[in-house]
Amino acid sequence: MKETRNRFVFLAAVILVAVVPLIWDNYYFLSVLSTTGLYIILVTGLNVLLGYTGLVSLGQAGFYAIGAYASGILVAKTGAPFVLGLLLAMLLSGVIGLIIGLSSVRLRGGYLAMVTLGFGTVVQIIMINWDDLTGGAEGIWGIPPVGFGPLKIVTPLAWYYTIFIIAGLIVLLTYSLERSRIGRAWMALREDVAAAQMMGINPVHYRLLAFVVSAVYSGIAGALFTHLNGSVFPDAFGLQTSIMILMMLILGGSGHILGPIMGAAIVNVGFEILRPFGNYQSLVFGFLIVLMAVFMPQGFMGLWRRLAALWGEAI
């Protein structure tokens, strides 16, 4: 029953994503939605780590940056095709994810938060200071349009669809993992490490896997970011980006496949809806987030579950 309901939700989401830009073909609106798509990928990545496996990371922007720069530099300097840029982004962020993940062998909680926080900061500092490769504080601009062979992705609409197809595939892949032996092992580790070990789960193995998956997702989002903008610059990958990703996960509902989608949509689209508040936009938004944190501690999916339970009792 739960599976049927989730299938229905996915189908509805696909139709919504496909139809919305046809109704609102507005350049600005499409760019907000495309950014939302990137965040769905990023927050899903953190969900694998924090939501399923119970490992906190304040350095997701670091993996995001590595993917963005890897693809941007490769394409800008060698004219390599998009697919190669994307592959390099995945490979490099995955390898760095594995290395950072090694710290989770001994550290957890606040200590792991410190390590990942430091990692994110170090990556940004490297991007700013390695002038020859990264273009320093200004970054790299005017990266030529990319695509698949002769088919270039140029219009905002084409980017919107590209990002959402990739985000959709990542969400589906993650959903399969969540409901598999792998996802169960991650969640068992989150709940009780000693008991999980007696179930044949090697904690190091599965924690590293979660880190690599999370980093590769972020790397993919990074490559998409770079080519969507035709540029890459260090400002986009600061601590506030990592915090934003964490906030979206908590608001949407950590540990639930739809949590990242809800979180990314609420924060990105919700912020735009508050635009009429002008100078007070951020203030009102911040206030609403405090309210949500107080009244929906389990995020949007928690609220959804409580409502569904009430509805179930009513009938």
């Binding site: 399969s176 598999s180 792998i182 169960r184 092992a185 068992a188 007696m198 179930m199 789960i201 090697n202």
Partner: protein, 253 residues
């Protein structure tokens, strides 16, 4: 068959186990008793790989297994329950038993992510097996409840179902009847006895409830201050003066 050969476990100056020899073999329940702090839980932790013994060896069918991790040992057929039930609270009762089958399932990362035909068949079989086990312990009605919503006695039966899910041939139960009333204890112990026979499992039962140990164990070993002081059938143990002394103290002469 599990054999402990001269196993000692020291924590700094504390000798939790001192030169213990113990054999666990054949289908059925073998009791392990002793006063608090006599080393029973330490022994379980040594056999299941949570501690590496300071001295001596643990053998499984003649092969040395001391030093292996719990996640390796369960694949060789050794599993346990915990003194305080360690259920995965955020998962459903059903999912808890599914996790228990982890060492038997073979789907790796890509097979799971892409839901290959093999994985789907494997998952289907695993779900059926999980429901079968929940029927066996009588928790099938609660399969979709959160682990955290079970009563204390139910947590223990769930832990038993989850342990059985690994198809282990050696099962170590660390005070399974603690906190249970007499009716619950009888039900749990008959269940353990039945599955031990049906599935040909060697059960090591660590328990403070003497009635349960005496009624359900074929043989009983007694630990005191880390040393094995007696071994035999329940009748012998009941009348062994060393055992009585270790529990009641020495009579003043």
């Amino acid at each position: 068959m599990i054999e402990l050969e001269g196993v000692s476990m020291y924590f700094g100056g504390i000798h939790a186990l001192e030169d213990v020899n113990l054999k666990l073999e054949g289908a059925g329940i073998q009791g392990l008793i002793g006063p608090n702090g006599s080393g029973k839980s330490t022994l379980i932790n040594v056999v299941t790989g949570y501690y590496k013994p300071t001295k001596g060896k643990v053998l499984l069918n003649g092969r040395e297994i001391s030093g292996l991790s719990p996640y390796d040992l369960v694949r060789l057929g050794i599993t346990r329950t915990f003194q305080n039930p360690r259920i995965f609270n955020g998962l459903s009762v059903f999912e808890n038993v599914m996790v228990g089958q982890h060492p038997l399932l073979k789907s790796g990362f890509w097979a799971s992510a892409l839901k290959r035909r093999f994985t789907r068949a494997e998952e289907r079989a695993a779900r059926e097996e999980a429901m079968k086990l929940l029927h066996l312990v009588g928790l099938h009605d609660k399969a979709h409840l959160q682990g955290s919503s079970l009563a204390y006695g139910e947590l223990r039966t769930l832990e038993l179902a989850r342990a059985l899910a690994s198809n282990a041939s050696v099962l170590l139960l660390d005070e399974p009847a603690a906190g249970m009333n007499d009716t619950e204890t009888v039900m749990l112990m008959s269940l353990v006895k039945q599955v031990a026979g049906d599935r040909h499992i060697s059960v090591l039962l660590v328990e403070h409830n003497m009635t349960a140990v005496m009624n359900y164990s074929r043989t009983i070993s007694v630990l005191d201050e880390g040393k094995k002081i007696a071994e035999g059938v329940p009748e012998e143990i009941k009348n062994d003066c060393r055992v009585i002394e270790s529990y009641m103290g020495r009579r003043n002469k």
